[in-house]
């Protein structure tokens, strides 16, 4: 009898709180998006599952001694996991299109206006009762506009760990929604004629250029923005491993097994921050709203910058590729390509959009560095 009552008291049924149930439903929602809708499944699947596990009553998976506790403090609180992912992403990135047409960097810069405008917006939300974002909070939220998951998680873990869960959910959800968010903005800001513009074929890029580029990039981060050095540095290490061609086995491991292992843990660790008290509040709604704004502003800034550049450039520039400047590699570039093909069936923009696309990765890492230096 005593055993049965002890067992009953140890069940989830006897200990559930409403918040936990809701957060488990949120976790199920993320799993649904990941599995049924293929929204960034590599991160949303483990993240959704982590959200379920962390909200199990009694089990204490995120308390001292629990698996998710160890994962979070070993890998996310320290910043190690996002940096290793960034190394792997670097080893997967080809800067060729950007080196062939470096002006595309301006598009990657313009799209970061999404970040800084959102920062302003986050502070404006303080007018709403129940929301009180500090500058650190606002900075961590604004980085969602960078459309770069590891950068957002890295910055949030440094500036606003208590908002980490909501920020990661927003960042990855909107990255998955890029094909839905971007096209109307792109169509609204461009004429059909502009969307039809075909761009000149890219010049050949030599191996030496590709090897020196990551070194130059990290050197600039060192000189001008050391706060961005961990992110930019690990990214460039991965890229150098790939392009140097002398450590193929390391490069292959960095972009396959290592990034896979870290991705599982990163997802679980981020999911472990999706507890009811951290997520179920007005601030989360604010973050979700701001994230959508950030993406939209970033997309618009990129497109408008490209329109402007097209006016002054000798070589024609299709404004659609400006939208790829928000990063969200390679989804945003594919969206540019698709909208371009709609207007002109012979207009293959994919390679051209890869330039602003990877420039956007650099741009948001730089923006993160600025925020760390000035607000952190």
């Amino acid at each position: 009898m005593e055993s049965l009552s002890k067992l009953w008291l140890s069940t989830g049924l006897a200990n559930f709180e409403l918040g936990q149930v809701i957060m488990m439903l949120v976790g199920c929602g993320l799993l649904y998006l990941a599995i049924a809708r293929s929204f960034e499944p590599l991160l949303l699947l483990p993240m959704g599952f982590g959200a379920i596990l962390t909200n199990i009553p009694v089990a204490g998976l995120s308390e001292v001694g629990g698996l998710l506790h160890y994962i979070y403090y070993a890998g996310i609180d320290t910043g190690i996991f996002p940096l290793l992912i960034f190394m792997g992403v670097g080893a997967m990135t080809d800067f060729g299109a950007l080196i062939a047409n470096p002006k595309m960097l301006l598009l990657g810069a313009a799209a970061q206006f999404g970040i800084f405008a959102t920062l302003f917006g986050a502070i404006a939300l303080n007018f709403i009762p129940g929301i009180e974002f500090t500058l650190k909070d606002a900075s961590a939220i604004a980085i969602i506009g960078g459309a770069d998951g590891p950068t957002a998680i890295f910055l949030a873990s440094k500036l606003a760990p208590e908002l980490l869960g909501a920020i990661a959910v927003a960042a990855y959800s909107y990255m998955a929604l890029v094909p839905i968010i971007q096209p109307p903005i792109m169509r609204a800001l461009t004429t059909v004629e502009e969307r039809k513009i075909e761009m000149a074929q890219l010049r050949h890029v030599t191996k030496v250029e590709k090897v020196i580029f990551p070194l130059g990039l990290v050197l600039m981060a060192i000189l001008f923005l050391p706060a961005a050095a961990p992110l930019v540095g690990m990214f460039c290490l991965g890229n150098l491993m790939k392009e140097s061609g002398v450590v193929d086995r390391l490069s292959s491991t960095a972009q396959n097994e290592l990034i896979n292992i870290v991705t599982i843990f990163l997802g679980l660790g981020v999911g472990s921050k999706l507890s009811a008290d951290a997520f179920l509040n007005v601030e989360t709604l604010g973050i979700l709203a701001l994230g959508a704004v950030a993406f939209s502003i970033g997309t618009a800034s990129g497109v408008l910058m490209a329109k402007g550049m097209n006016k002054f450039s000798k070589a024609p520039i299709n404004p659609l590729i400006g939208a790829a400047g928000v990063s969200a590699v390679p989804m945003a570039a594919r969206v540019s390509n698709k909208i371009g093909l709609e207007a002109n069936p012979h207009n293959f923009l994919l390679m051209h959009a890869m330039g602003p696309n990877v420039a956007g990765v650099i741009g948001s890492a730089v923006a993160a560095g600025i925020l760390l230096a000035l607000v952190g």
Binding site: D94, G96, A97, L98, I99, A100, P102, K103, L105, L106, G108, A109, A110, Q112, F113, I115, F116, A117, L119, F120, A122, I123, A124, N126, F127, L135, A138, S139, Q201, L202, H204, V205, T206, K207, V208, E209, I212, F213, G216, L217, M220, F224, L225, R249, M351, A359, I362, G363, V366, A367, I370, L371, L374, V375
Partner: protein, 103 residues
């Protein structure tokens, strides 16, 4: 409300400084590519096939020898697939025969 204004001012400054620095940084990177890399590209051209458009190195490496017809490829690939399904280990043991570098 004064506090609010203060925060707005800070956020506005951040926005301004941030965008300036982002453009400055990426702008300098343009200079780096145009001045440094472009020169390097001239001084150290790729040893072979400089006319080929930038594309995936690995695919090139694989596609450039032999000229078997698609039909033969399909026939063989079917056989290879079936062979692999039966001898699942083979690909793992091929990994073992990688040149083994001593670290």
């Amino acid at each position: 409300m004064n506090n609010m204004q203060q925060e707005f001012l800070e956020a506005g400054t951040l926005m301004l400084v941030g965008m300036v620095v982002v453009f400055a940084f990426l702008g300098l990177l343009i200079l780096f590519v145009n001045l440094v890399l472009a020169k390097l590209a001239v001084r150290f051209p790729d040893p072979v096939a400089p006319s080929r458009a930038p594309s995936n190195k690995k695919n090139n490496k694989k596609a450039d020898d032999g000229t078997a017809s698609p039909a033969i490829v399909a026939a063989i690939s079917g056989a290879v697939n079936r062979y692999r399904a039966q001898h699942g280990q083979s690909s793992a043991s091929a990994d073992n025969s990688l040149p083994q570098n001593k670290n």
